[in-house]
Symmetry: C2
Subunit: 196 residues, 2 copies
Amino acid sequence: MKLLEERIRKDGVIKEGGVVKVDNFLNHQMDIRLFNEMGKEWKRLFVDKPINKILTIEASGIGIAAIAAQYFDVPVVFAKKTQSINLDGEVYSTKIQSFTHGRVYDVIVSKKYISAEDHILIIDDFLANGCALLGLIDLVEAAGATVEGIGIAIEKGFQPGGGLIREKGYHLESLAIIDRIQKETNELIFRQNCTK
Amino acid sequence: MKLLEERIRKDGVIKEGGVVKVDNFLNHQMDIRLFNEMGKEWKRLFVDKPINKILTIEASGIGIAAIAAQYFDVPVVFAKKTQSINLDGEVYSTKIQSFTHGRVYDVIVSKKYISAEDHILIIDDFLANGCALLGLIDLVEAAGATVEGIGIAIEKGFQPGGGLIREKGYHLESLAIIDRIQKETNELIFRQNCTK
């Protein structure tokens, strides 16, 4: 998606170790107009899918998922990190390794909000090694629900997550895929794909 | 706001100790259509304020704030709980006591995203004792920015937060204020206010 690629080039900050910080517009400050364009694009890419619910994970997926949900006219469920004493009843749970925070999270979703009848679009901000996404897929499949598609804002094409998920046959649409970062110039090289 | 009050009556679950669970539509599963009506209502209530940014706190404030931001055409910044190693540079920080989770959080916001020129609308899902909200006000005022208003989805009128915040002179608009819960019938009694 050209609009997102241009924004990453303009406002993304490249750090050591392939870290691209986009907290100016994506995951600390959120550009809601941009999120609307992303939502429209996912709707175009998943238009033929019978999606009745969006699943994301706290915290930075929530804003993107909420705005995107307007184009599908469906509710959003966000998976929660660590058991909240306020979340009663039975939950589906999985463990997700976070490289960013250097720890393992328990991630849960109430059984009330995903069931075998659900056709789920998973939305998240980043895809790198794929741990978070595989955890969300686990939760959906534990409920017997169907993963109709996966929408990611920014995929790091030089990390294994995207390849892993596509090999498993999931319909994954990343709006911007960073294939590499030119060492000398710090230029971002994006993969050509089918997004607008 | 009648629509929200009716929804709380219909789908809220009353627990021991004055806990009202609304994870069916507000803070686990999110009803995005309802959030749009809430956003419209806050716009009506704060229409005369020169708001240029919305501040909320992860996680359950984010979806509401993102949708509401569309009616103000402004970006959203969400304050983060605990220091993320991926959030560099200087931050404003405060400590917030969470009674729900029985612990104290460090809450931070990057200095890049709130400045003295900002006119902030604070949005959050719940107001009970007011700890989270006072923390967010701290962050805004540490930056020298102006709190133009505070929009809350559900206020527990039988807890001290709302009174405390209003006494300090802030323009607080809670879309539903639960004044008490009838012990025998578990009926929710809402405060009459100026929301639609």
